[in-house]
Assembly symmetry: C2
Homo-oligomer: 288 residues x 2
């Protein structure tokens, strides 16, 4: 079976922002022969059809997966974990199954070393959610992380890699554990930091009502992502618990170090603390 | 002496971004009769003159202050503290002396209850520094905090208030201690948070070189202010030490709370944590 055959019938389970954008992009670029959307809400699937994200839709994931060449699971993490055994039981031996969940170890474990499965995390998003917010260029220049394990077939890897490439994304591979540790630090921790800052400042504003008047650009930037979906972030915290706990611990250690050099009034250490951070910020994207 | 008389001869000590913008605004609006810039670097003062921030300049603060109606101290905090006794010893009995430092308790204490002095913090800024970055509208709609104490004369308060108004700023008054606590939480802590996040992620990137590829908008926002002047932030940390230490402590407590509800896998508490932060973020500026 050639690589091209894998894009004849593509099933997308969960046609929200990510799934809808995948469908639009695969259809508009002519990459997919046909795209079947699967979900539990006919109204939402109808909307995905009207917006051009899918060619048709079904409420039955097992049935839709039967003749699919590529199945992309784009629901929330807990739903992906429930869907994986259903899809793998139904899909043919040459099918490739990938997901778009934002944590990987739990999801990859649910595939129980099936060679047809590959973990994938398209790192694109928006403050908006739902298929109404979907657009075909969402993945252009986005990072497309693949998390193959020993059991993953080379074909599954190549199909998932090629899917990312055709969407204009930058593909990179790492282990599920490395991925989860990385996103805990680079994405999950920043959200917790932002919400925590918002919470203590709001508590202080109750005692000191002029506080919001004194807030400027740095505060606005640092609390922007505090306005995120609580349910989404509950799921992320629970599904990437261990890596997040360890990221919080490293972070508290660093804050304690900062506290310590300020308390002991050590001017050289304080300058070095800010100076290193400033040069790390300037060089951050240069090293890629 | 009428209020208007106070704007005849204005001395600005420290003609950088803030002092330069004050000079430009006071001159261009016709508020000040003449503006004299004072500093220690003739080259920089010459530049301020060429850019229209001052009408003339002097290297002698005591001498320039002698016949001034209003003296605005816009140097770094440590320099302001050194300049205050010099200016108060030289200025006339009807002069008003204000500063533009970003912390207030130490500065107000240096004025030793002189009724002519009033603490002031124009909350405007930019990533850029120096008179080259100055522009007359810097203070438009910015918050202009005044920190009068018991000894402050009503005239000093009214002159500083009117200066802020003429620059288009929003004037508010609070005690020096309340100001310092507020900026520790709303400005100094966010900078420490940002630099700390940058530092632990840069350390992890040494072990995991693909990490920068996985960073997106939230990380970019949260680390924007990590690229700030180390010397400026050393001075701020040392001059607002106690309030900053207490802000770090509150913040670590909040992070530990977040850690705790994630570790114990408490879905309702986690939703409430993010939900409260999200609604606090949406309502932040509404309460003013």
């Amino acid at each position: 079976m050639s690589l091209e055959d894998h894009f004849k019938t593509v099933v997308i389970a969960g046609v929200g922002l990510i799934g809808g954008s995948l469908g639009m992009s695969l259809r508009q670029s002519g990459t997919a022969g046909r795209v079947i959307g699967v979900g539990r809400n006919p109204g939402r699937l109808q909307k995905a059809l009207a917006l051009g994200a899918v060619d048709s839709f079904s409420l039955d994931l097992a049935d839709a997966s039967r003749d699919a060449d590529l199945i992309l699971l784009c629901s929330p993490v807990s739903q992906i974990i429930r869907d994986i055994p259903v899809v793998l039981a139904s899909a043919g031996p040459d099918a490739v199954v990938a997901d778009a969940g934002s944590v990987k170890a739990q999801i990859v474990a649910a595939a129980m070393d099936d060679p047809r499965f590959i973990g994938c995390h398209p790192m694109a998003g928006s403050n908006l959610t739902g298929v109404e917010a979907a657009f075909p260029n969402l993945f252009k220049l986005a990072t497309w992380v693949l998390t193959p394990v020993k059991s993953t077939s080379e074909r599954a890897f190549r199909v998932a890699e090629e899917t990312g490439r055709r969407l204009g994304a930058v593909v990179c591979a790492m282990s599920p554990a490395d991925h989860d540790r990385a996103v805990a630090l680079i994405s999950h921790l920043p959200h917790l930091i932002s919400s925590s800052l918002m919470r203590i400042c709001a508590a202080e504003a109750l005692r000191s009502p002029k506080l919001p008047l004194l807030s400027a650009g740095s505060f606005a930037d640092m609390t922007r992502v505090a306005n995120s979906s609580p349910e989404l972030w509950r799921d992320i915290c629970l599904s990437n618990r261990d890596a997040i706990l360890s990221a919080i611990d490293s972070y508290i250690d660093e804050l304690k170090y900062a506290r310590n050099i300020i308390e002991s009034e050590s001017p050289e250490e304080i300058v070095r603390f800010f100076d290193e951070a400033a040069s790390e910020k300037r060089d951050w994207k240069k090293s890629i």
